[in-house]
């Protein structure tokens, strides 16, 4: 290969190549080697910027005392923060001079927040798939009045930032709570209900996918006497599993990170989600970095692993226009 795939050469490498050719008349192999070394150096230094924060959080979670993440390895190792997060009681020295100790045990084990988040995000995402999948089917396969205007207004109206609708959410949940207790303020069901409003971008994604599937199969099934609902469930759904996986993962991750609505709707510690709970460790007067770090590692790792495993799906879906919130 005379021109090793020039399109992929980073600019820096190429400039250097020009200069070095003039001065030393390097062979082709040497030039290639230099470029490769530089590319690796660039990628490695970038990787360091990506990985170092995570390593520091892991180290902060094992470090005695509550210090902001600042070291690659903890100086004094202690499991206290992990015990706290898992809800295991541990003894702490209150006064080093007298050796006085006390037992520390969280009122609400922070692990519960992680579980709450998983619960809320899973149920919301499942609901999102149900609602946006059926709606996308209607938009993709039926002709009806105002179809196009409804589709575009869905997208435009969704641009209204959820944060600023909080007053209205509060009013709605306060109202529903007076009639249906488990659907009011400070309930996870209420929060899930609010989350189910955010379907429009997912309708677009799923509709885009449905549009790429030829309708000929469904038509022949219809000729054989199947109802539209049967063709939807038996024919379209089985071939659309990938897009549902993408929608599920994207909305799951979005809801795992949702802070403002959850912080207003959920008021007591036992109902909090991960985002609200994690932020509660970092209040202005006392920042409990150690506990936060342990919670972040404990809950961040499984989510990250699941995301990495499903990466292939997600990347395919992203190019069809989803955006992570």
């Amino acid at each position: 290969m005379a021109f090793p795939s020039l399109k992929t050469e980073p600019a820096r490498v190429s400039n250097l190549r020009d200069r070095s050719t003039r001065r030393h008349r390097l062979t082709h192999e040497q030039r290639l080697l230099i470029r490769k070394v530089l590319a690796h150096a660039f990628l490695l230094s970038f990787l360091a910027i990506v990985l170092v924060p995570f390593i520091m959080v892991v180290s902060a979670s094992f470090r005695q005392g509550n210090f902001a993440p600042s070291r690659l390895l903890p100086d004094k190792v202690s499991l206290d923060h992990w015990k706290y997060v898992l809800g295991i009681p541990y003894t702490e020295v209150v006064n080093p001079a007298t050796g006085e100790t006390r037992v520390v045990k969280p009122v609400v084990p922070p692990l519960l927040w992680f579980w709450n988040s998983i619960k809320v995000s899973c149920l919301s995402s499942a609901g999102i798939i149900l609602l946006s999948g059926t709606a996308a089917y209607a938009f993709s396969r039926f002709k009806f009045k105002f179809r196009t205007p409804i589709l575009s207004s869905l997208l435009i109206l969704q641009m209204f930032p959820m944060v600023l609708a909080l007053v209205a959410f509060y009013v709605i949940l306060d109202f529903t709570g007076t009639y249906v207790k488990w659907l009011g303020l400070n309930t996870q069901a209420g929060l899930i209900m609010v989350y189910l409003g955010g379907i429009s971008s997912y309708i677009w994604m799923i509709k885009g996918y449905f549009d790429t599937i030829p309708a000929s199969m469904e038509e022949s099934a219809r000729i054989d006497g199947a109802s539209p609902f049967q063709t939807f469930v038996r024919i379209l759904l089985p071939v659309s599993i990938p897009i549902f996986a993408v929608v599920f993962i994207l909305s799951f991750i979005g809801y795992m990170s949702e802070y403002p609505v959850a912080s207003v709707v959920l008021q007591t510690g036992n109902n909090w989600t991960l985002a609200v709970g994690a932020n509660s460790f970092l209040y202005e007067q006392e920042k409990l970095w150690g506990r936060f770090a342990a919670l972040a590692v404990l809950s961040g790792v499984p989510i990250t692993v699941v995301f990495m495993l499903c990466q292939r799906f997600v990347i395919g879906g992203l190019t069809s226009g989803g955006i992570k919130e």
């Binding site: 490769k36 993440p69 009806f144 196009t148 641009m159 600023l164 970095w289 990495m308």
Partner: protein, 514 residues
Amino acid sequence: MSLTTLPVRQVLMALVLLPALYLDFAIYQAGNVWIALAFLIVIAFGAYIYLRREAYPFRYLFPGFLGFGLFVIFPLVYTVCIGFMKYSSQNLLPYDRALELLLQETYLSGDVSYHYQLFAQDAGKYILVLQDMKDPGRRFASEPIDLKAGQQSGASESVTPVTPIAPGTQPPGKPLEMAQVTREKLFIPMRGRQFSLPDKTIVTLEGLARFAARQRLYTLNPDGTLTNRRDGSIVHADPQQGYFVNQKGEKVGVGFRTFTGFDNYVRILSDPRIQGPFLRIFLWTVAFSIFSVLGTFATGLLLAVVLEWKEIQCRKIYRTLLILPYAVPAVLSILIFKGLFNQEFGAVNAFLRGIFHFAPEWETNPWGARAMILLVNIWLGYPYMMLICTGMLQSIPSTIYEASAIDGSNALVDLFKITLPLILPPLFPILISSFAFNFNNFNLVYLLTAGGPKMVGGGIAGETDLLVTYTFNLAFRDSGTNYGLASAIATILFIMVGVLAWANLRIGGRNVKM
């Protein structure tokens, strides 16, 4: 087939309809007539859609639209409406409630005063005995009442009746000396209470040693104005101010919320106290969004281009690890960076101090804080751009580059003359949605800096506040909440981002397939 599916649908319908109708009835009985009516219309719509053939496509849309209507459209309309109202911590109550409070106000009507004595009962209760100062024969006693020493009683609005007792008789219990009343601070809870004589005169504690008669301060006139009994002045509601005012134009009582048309919008444009911070925050929001998009795009593209070079080993590992910031929940990453950028103890400054002897003020200097926000946002956002650019790059045929290489071009020329012109048009909609997303990137700013450092002379505005966090603070920070103004800004925000989304739809070619 249709024989078996038909009854199932009817049964399912009944299972949903009956509880819904029951709930609607409960709402109606509780007095929320309009809400019950709206709910009934929704139920009727649902029944129509699922029972009639001609509305078939809407069977698939109805559930989704219900959620969308309740949690997107309703909040939007609600917010737009509040934007036209004067509605803040000063003008909080509805008009009826403010009027009611005003009518409850009393004044010292004067001539008759009463001595009082407290008789201690069991469990911290006391009986109050009143005696007319001029006519000692008029004596009254109350039921046993709760008085918690030194605490305001919560029963300030309720009125305790007292009944006449015969001269010479004593209620049960031990009478308290005056010194005991003051020492145990029993006058504090008593001050919050009102007692009504059999002739409906209200008496309250005046000073320490006596009770005096009070009267309602205002009487309601047929034309809706109020007459002040003490000085005879006329008070009327001023819907423009959201206050009751007297003839001299002085505010009276508590404010109420009221429709004021475009007042909030006029204030945003003309009131220097709001206009100043608003403009600065607006400019920063736009700058932040532009630089975020440019920064993430440039970083993502650079990495994608390098990783497309087939000569590099371990490309897969690099690519997987470089996606990490996208895979970790953003809330956690943002909070982690809050720690890393800590001015005194954070890792970033420890590193910079060690190598360059230089420690930027990420928290107190406005430019430092802005730089930090942008850096963190680029860190969070580049993997998304990298993924998308990778997809785009792989779709460009390599023959184009081979041809240009024969013409003696270099990588930089290729990037700007071939790659960018080819990938920018299809990327444009994604860049615009990324812009719109960052325009309202609440989590990042709220969790990282909470808008700080404070803007000098900007009230609650901070130097790194985006419009969305500023509005959130306007509406929800404890002091001086101003829902009306916040909602007006929210409406402006929505219009700006909505126009962007609309333009994106037009140019994005997404509508081709519709």
